[in-house]
């Protein structure tokens, strides 16, 4: 069996293009989706505006520093939602219906195929909003990012996306073993919920335990904290340490999730008849 290696970039661009065509076919649906997810963001923002009516800072994060943190959360989450969320949901469906057979037959890496098939362009509205909030917060903080900040921020946003992706693909892969996936979204939501806050808020005996657990075992706490700190706070040795750890965590999560995905595929038994 001699076959040519598929051109992954080309395949991905085709997926992206097809998704865009599909989105533009149902234009109103696209607009409604974009607007409604923006409304969620605004409500969230409203909630913290309200909190900052009563306090000046949350665990050392001033109002606009915290908004910068939120903007980073939005940027990372929107990227995950755009590229991976619809695919993970579809994957569980493929397992339940046995449609995964067709993905396995294609002469391309299965994980690549099921991870990138759909792109949900509507979620990019949150990305744009996140960027806007980021710039606004920087302007309010009167911070002009230096060249290394401009360079490193996207790198660590990317690391964060990788960690979230690994977590998602791991959760999706478990539905091969468990057969049902109703709690997939819930699990995802409940775990990533911990990443939405600065890690300094997890204090006290339980807090430090949680901090340890969500930094070293399931590293969701470094996802937003590391890039947000880079822009918003003075960096010291300890913070640089965590930054370096984020790279390590991203690589390790990706490898671990790859391994889990492959072993899960090994125990896949088709459901179709």
């Amino acid at each position: 069996m001699h076959s040519e290696q598929p051109n992954y970039t080309q395949v991905f661009l085709t997926f992206a293009r097809n998704s865009l065509i599909r989105d533009m076919t149902f234009r109103w649906d696209f607009i409604i989706q974009a607007v409604s997810s923006l409304c969620w963001m605004l409500m969230n923002l409203g909630f913290y505006l309200l909190i900052f009516q009563y306090t000046k800072e949350i665990s050392g994060w001033s109002k606009y520093q915290f908004f910068l943190f939120m903007a980073t959360t939005m940027i990372i989450n929107s990227l995950v939602q755009t590229f991976f969320m619809p695919n993970a949901a579809e994957f569980s469906e493929l397992i339940r219906t046995g449609g995964l057979d067709f993905a396995l037959l294609k002469p391309i890496d299965t994980q690549f195929l099921i991870s990138f098939r759909r792109v949900e362009w509507a979620s990019m509205s949150n990305f744009v909003f996140g960027l806007g909030l980021l710039s606004f917060s920087l302007w309010q903080l009167e911070v002009m990012p230096t060249w290394w900040q401009v360079l490193l921020f996207p790198v660590f946003v990317f690391c964060g996306v990788l960690i979230f992706y690994s977590l998602m693909i791991t959760l999706a892969a478990t539905s091969i073993w468990l057969g049902r996936n109703q709690s997939l979204y819930n699990f995802w939501f409940y775990i990533t919920n911990f990443s939405r806050y600065p890690l300094e808020i997890y204090r006290g005996p339980y807090g430090s335990w949680l901090q340890w657990f969500f930094t070293f075992l399931i590293p969701v706490l470094v996802v937003v904290n590391v890039p947000a700190r880079l822009l918003a706070q003075e960096m010291d040795r300890q913070k640089w340490g965590l930054t370096a750890f984020a790279v390590f965590a991203a690589v390790m999560s990706l490898l671990a999730s790859r391994w889990i995905f492959q072993s899960a595929l090994g125990s896949y038994r088709s459901a179709s008849s």
Binding site: M43, F47, Y54, Y190, Y197, I201, R203
Partner: protein, 295 residues
């Protein structure tokens, strides 16, 4: 099922009719129970997980309160709009109870789907009132839910008992239960009426989304609505959504007392009656528009 017999009958027959009515509903309830009990492990775990976001709320509010001086100029313990740190946590836990009563997953979208796919036919050709049936069905579902969720709820509240400063007085407790039942009725009527809009628009998905969004923010699920500044607070108190999560919790915590409490309950009762009328009218005219495709 909800309709009473129209012909005049002897007492003996009446008893038989009621026996039949009771056994029918008892069977429905039993089936519902057994259906739900199949996944009891999954269910208990799912219910426990629903409390996880409260963990982050506890830490968040602890961080907020740590920036406030421990007593204010009046010598009271640090509070935001009358809520101390412990009351904040208690508030979030209590809204979980209110929402267990007021949330109606799948009700509106289910009604809209029945309309779209012609499944309303099955109610129209039987001597059953669709809204009455859905209401009883929902009551049964909720009863099963409370039966199953009691243990996880009790566990969480036991673990968090230090956030509560004891039981409120009996009167408050009774009014708290009343407000929960009202929350159930109000939640049912709002969602059912949104579902009925399907007679006119067929697709209510985006409408439901807007409702969900407003509900999440203005029901008090996210924060106690007395935190809102002037204009917003008035606005939120004008629309009935705050009865779905905020109100019962605030009653339990003694945030609303005396005349204000009875007045709020009275307004809520008015909303329920008004919505009941709107619901009946919408159903009456909706069915006349309905063409029963599919079926």
């Amino acid at each position: 099922m909800a309709s009473s017999p129209e012909v005049s009958i002897s007492p003996g027959e009446a008893i038989t009719t009621w026996k039949n009515w009771f056994s029918t509903h008892w069977t429905i309830l039993k089936i519902c129970l057994e259906e739900r009990l199949v996944y009891r492990g999954d269910f208990a775990l799912g219910t426990l997980m629903r409390f996880l976001p409260i963990v982050t709320q506890i830490f968040l509010w602890s961080a907020v309160f740590s920036t406030l001086p421990s007593t204010n100029q009046n010598g009271e313990a640090a509070n935001i709009q009358g809520y101390t740190y412990h009351q904040f946590v208690a508030y979030y836990l209590l809204t979980m109870i209110s929402r267990a009563f007021s949330s109606m997953p799948g009700l509106a979208s289910g009604i809209a789907k029945d309309i779209r796919e012609g499944a309303v036919n099955k109610y129209l050709i039987q001597p059953i009132d669709m809204m009455g049936f859905l209401f009883l069905n929902r009551v049964a579902h909720k009863l099963v839910y409370y039966l199953m969720a009691a243990a996880p709820f009790a566990l969480v509240f036991f673990l968090c008992r230090d956030f509560f400063s004891g039981w409120p007085p009996t009167e408050t407790l009774l009014l708290f239960f009343l407000s929960l039942i009202f929350a159930f009725l109000l939640g049912f009527l709002i969602e059912a009426t949104i579902g009925l809009i399907g007679f006119w628009f067929l697709e209510v998905g985006s409408l439901l989304f807007i409702y969900m969004l407003l509900n999440f923010f203005f029901s008090g699920h996210m924060f106690p609505i007395d935190m809102l500044p002037g204009f917003w607070r008035t606005l939120v108190e004008l629309i009935p959504l705050h009865y779905l999560a905020y109100f019962p919790a605030a009653v339990f915590l003694g945030q609303i007392e005396g005349d204000a409490l009875y007045r709020a309950l009275f307004i809520e009762a008015c909303w329920i009656i008004a919505l009941l009328f709107i619901n009946r009218i919408a159903f009456y005219y909706g069915v006349r528009r309905y063409s029963g495709y599919g079926g």
